[in-house]
């Protein structure tokens, strides 16, 4: 039996003005389990708190009820008071007789009566309370960053700077991501390589950072502070620690016609390759699909020319297991396929290209050494048409495009148009736009410069059809302001393809039990207040995997995610919310209903031995709640048909006791 103390607060006249506090404390004194009942002007004051502490000691109270303002106001205060007097803080219940009684009722009699009932409900609940202790779990002080683009790089650098070890897992042979493929960056036009490659070198040289390139995450288990991750290092057939990156093998390899993915297939590489000069790690990789030695055992040139002896045709995929305290998703984006938009003739003409291909075409390290040429025949283009929103803001068909705005296209197109006009003043540049969206520091000014100073022809309207005729591209489009249909003979058409999350994000989200939206962008824990966290504890979001972003935004978010990770890793132990679900194994059927409604993946199943009535033992599958992950919503308790699942602090019995007290 509990020994309960009741403390009724006057809150000056806030409560006492409408509620007869003496009558309330008198009435509650007779409730089952109540051994002490008092009232005081301000329970939250130091004097009021002392009153409570003294009563706890004097009457050996095992639980208290404070009839006062909303628990949202002072529950924490009174829990601390109780703890200070040696009482478990979760043995405190608040009856909200201010916000939900004295302030909404005018009549003293009704107010008093309701306050008594609310008090009785709180007493009834406290009678069934049990001391709760928040679970503690240790924190592995190491972070995993999945994705080695600018988002992953920045997050890793910031975490490493705070002194925590970080691993980056990147599927490509090098880190750098999309930014490494860009030429210049808006709105300042600094060269992407000039600002990115020093950061890549920093990553390589940072003692706290390990890079797993050409690798992928294949399994994630565990929970916040304690993730167990399996990383598959794909065989690159080159010993990473021995290869010096001299590049001789990539010159001697006889397989010359492998499409170079770094240049989006616009030129070729060899079967053994280093994606680009500043790759990190600067190590060669053999592409097993094209290597003759690996395919049929005939060749071996690279091994012969490698002075360091780094080539290893027998290399196998390697699986690495590591523990992490926090995981950052930084899986980035890709332009969508242009297959479904063939009215723009992307598949029919080499001179219809995407904006990312345009970046490579203008990049000094690109397939044309930075000379802007028509990919079909290498001639200099005189008329270039840029088409905006290809597949963005497209609601007609989900297989075709994306309903959202891709956010970055307006600005990079302004950049492309401006740079083209700057370098080749003899070109005519048209930009067909629906809206020009430039919210960002110095963004609109940049766009206006393209139009005003560089003479880029911005046309409000849309291209309807591109027809490759006689080596030219016949562009048919609308000019909505002039109310005309235009026919332009262009040399090059550049499509601003919508961007979508990388395909690896969906399986990763499944492994992380992190939620995603219908477009496969990761969902944030709160769209405004927790924008870099996933609802799944210990999982953070960096860059375009959360939504379309430009570089400055990505870097800010990357830093924010790092700050959150550092905040987590700085703790030695994680203290949870003790009001968590718990499963009664004897009653659990193992049916998985609770697991399916849990938004946090906090419920797993274990096979457990049970003694049967006939003294044999049988193994049954039962639910097990990970208290460090459970947030205590209670969805599982109702999904469970047998009532095996309950919620500490809001147990079925406690709530029923409140219902009974109120309805009595």
């Amino acid at each position: 039996m509990q020994r309960i103390g009741v403390f009724v607060c006057w809150c000056g006249s806030n409560i006492a003005g409408t509620v007869d506090v003496q009558a309330v404390s008198d009435a509650l004194a007779h409730e089952p389990g109540v051994v002490h009942s008092a009232n005081y002007q301000y329970m939250c004051s130091q004097a009021g708190q002392n009153l409570i502490k003294e009563a706890i000691e004097e009457h050996k109270l095992t639980g208290i009820v404070v009839c006062s303002c909303s628990p949202r106001m002072h529950e924490a205060t009174f829990r601390k008071t109780a703890a200070a007097a040696g009482l478990n803080p979760y043995m405190v219940e608040i009856a909200n007789i201010r916000e939900q009684c004295s302030w909404v009722h005018k009549d003293m009699a009704t107010g008093t009566e309701k306050a008594i009932i609310l008090g009785k409900a709180a007493v009834a609940k406290v009678n069934l309370n049990a001391p709760l202790t928040p679970g503690e779990s240790p924190v592995t002080k190491r972070a995993l960053v999945i994705g080695g683009g600018i988002a992953g790089i920045q997050t890793a650098l910031d975490i490493a700077d705070a002194g925590f070890p970080v691993d980056i897992v990147e599927t490509k042979p090098t880190i750098g991501g999309k930014m490494a493929q860009l030429d210049k960056t808006f709105p300042t036009l600094d060269c992407a390589a000039c600002i990115l490659t020093p950061k890549m070198v920093d990553v390589a040289q940072n003692e706290n950072i390990r890079i797993f390139s050409y690798s992928e995450v294949t399994d994630i288990k565990g929970f916040v502070g304690n993730f167990d991750v399996t990383i598959k290092k794909r065989a690159r057939y080159v010993k990473e620690d021995i290869c010096t990156g001299c590049g001789l093998c990539t010159e001697k390899c006889p397989m010359k016609n492998v499409p170079n993915e770094f240049n989006l297939g616009m030129d070729n590489r060899r079967a053994i390759y280093i994606p680009f000069a500043q790759a990190v790690p600067k190590v060669a990789t053999i592409d097993p699909e094209h290597c003759n030695m690996l395919k049929n055992g005939k060749c071996g040139v690279c091994a012969k020319v490698c002075a360091a002896g780094a080539i290893d045709y027998k290399q196998q995929d390697e699986y690495i297991s590591e523990k992490y305290g926090a995981i950052v998703a930084a899986t980035g984006f890709n332009p969508i396929s242009m297959d479904k938009f063939d009215e723009y003739a992307y598949s029919q003409s080499k001179d219809v290209i995407t904006s990312l291909e345009f970046e490579r075409l203008t990049n000094a390290a690109g397939p044309s050494s930075g000379h802007l040429v028509c990919p079909s025949d290498g001639r200099h283009p005189h008329t270039i048409v840029f088409v905006q929103c290809v597949g963005s803001r497209c609601a007609s068909c989900s297989e075709k495009g994306k309903e959202y705005c891709s956010k970055i296209c307006c600005m990079y197109t302004a950049k492309h148009a401006m740079l083209t006009r700057d370098k080749y003043p003899d070109t005519e540049v048209y930009v067909f736009y629906i809206d020009v969206r430039t919210p960002g520091k110095n963004f609109d000014e940049f766009y206006r410069r393209a139009a005003e100073e560089y003479g880029v022809k911005y046309i409000k309207g849309m291209v309807g059809k591109v027809s490759p005729e006689n080596g030219k591209l016949h562009v048919q489009a609308s000019d909505l302001l002039a109310d005309k249909q235009l026919h332009i003979e262009a040399d090059l058409v550049v499509l601003a393809a919508a961007i979508e999350p990388d395909k690896s994000a969906r399986p990763l989200a499944t492994m992380l039990t992190a939620s995603m939206d219908t477009n496969d962008f990761f969902t944030e824990a709160h769209p405004k207040l927790r924008p870099v966290e996933s609802p799944t504890a210990g999982v953070f979001l960096s860059g375009a995997c959360q939504g379309p972003k430009d570089i400055p935004e990505t870097v800010s978010q990357a830093g924010a995610a790092a700050a959150k990770v550092i905040g987590l890793l700085a703790k030695d132990k994680l203290t949870g919310n003790p009001c968590v679900a718990n499963s009664n194994e004897l009653m659990c059927n193992g049916c998985s209903s609770c697991e399916r409604v849990c938004p946090y993946g906090a419920i797993t199943y274990v096979d457990k031995e049970f003694r049967m009535p006939d003294r044999t033992t049988k193994v049954r599958r039962v639910a097990s709640v990970n208290e460090a992950v459970c947030q205590g919503c209670g969805a599982c308790t109702v999904a469970c048909p047998s009532g095996a699942m309950d919620l500490k602090g809001f147990a079925t019995k406690q709530i029923i006791a409140e219902v009974d007290a109120i309805c009595k």
Binding site: E343, C389, R393, C394, A395, S396, C397, G401, F432, I434, K460, G461, M462, V463, G464, K465, Q476, A477, S478, L480, D483, Q485
Partner: protein, 130 residues
């Protein structure tokens, strides 16, 4: 008159099954329309004018009879607006009225030659007349 136009507007929207509010004014329909140069009001204007209730000029315009029903605007619209269906719904508003047939059977013989397939005649009659 205003009331009447509003009634026509809702009738056109109902009949066509098109929601002109979905239009984001990109103009791709007009960029793609093969009959653009024959039209006084262009596909995107049809959508906008129906949406805003400014239907009267459309009812009087010859543009109603220039649409080829080739559905290029329908297929290429990024928002699924289907302008061709609106053009048709407005046209029906006109030709369904007594004596408003755009193409009269009497005038056909002068318009055809011996090679012209029946398909052209029945199509045109169905489009232009009631």
């Amino acid at each position: 008159m205003k009331k009447e136009l509003e009634a026509i507007q809702s009738e056109v929207i109902r009949r066509s099954g098109v929601n002109p509010k979905k239009c984001m004014r990109c103009g791709k329909c007009s960029g793609t329309c093969p009959a653009y140069d024959q039209m006084e009001y262009h596909p995107h204007q049809f959508v906008y004018m129906v949406e805003s209730g400014d239907i009267e000029p459309l009812l009087k315009s010859d543009s109603l009879y220039q649409c080829l029903t080739c559905f290029a605007c329908v297929d290429r619209c990024p928002r699924g607006v289907e302008p061709a269906k609106l053009v048709e719904a407005v046209r029906l508003q006109v030709v369904r009225r007594q004596g408003n047939n755009h193409l009269k059977t009497d005038s056909i013989p002068a318009l055809i030659d011996e090679d012209m397939p029946q398909q052209a005649l029945v199509s045109a009659l169905r489009k232009y007349s009631k």
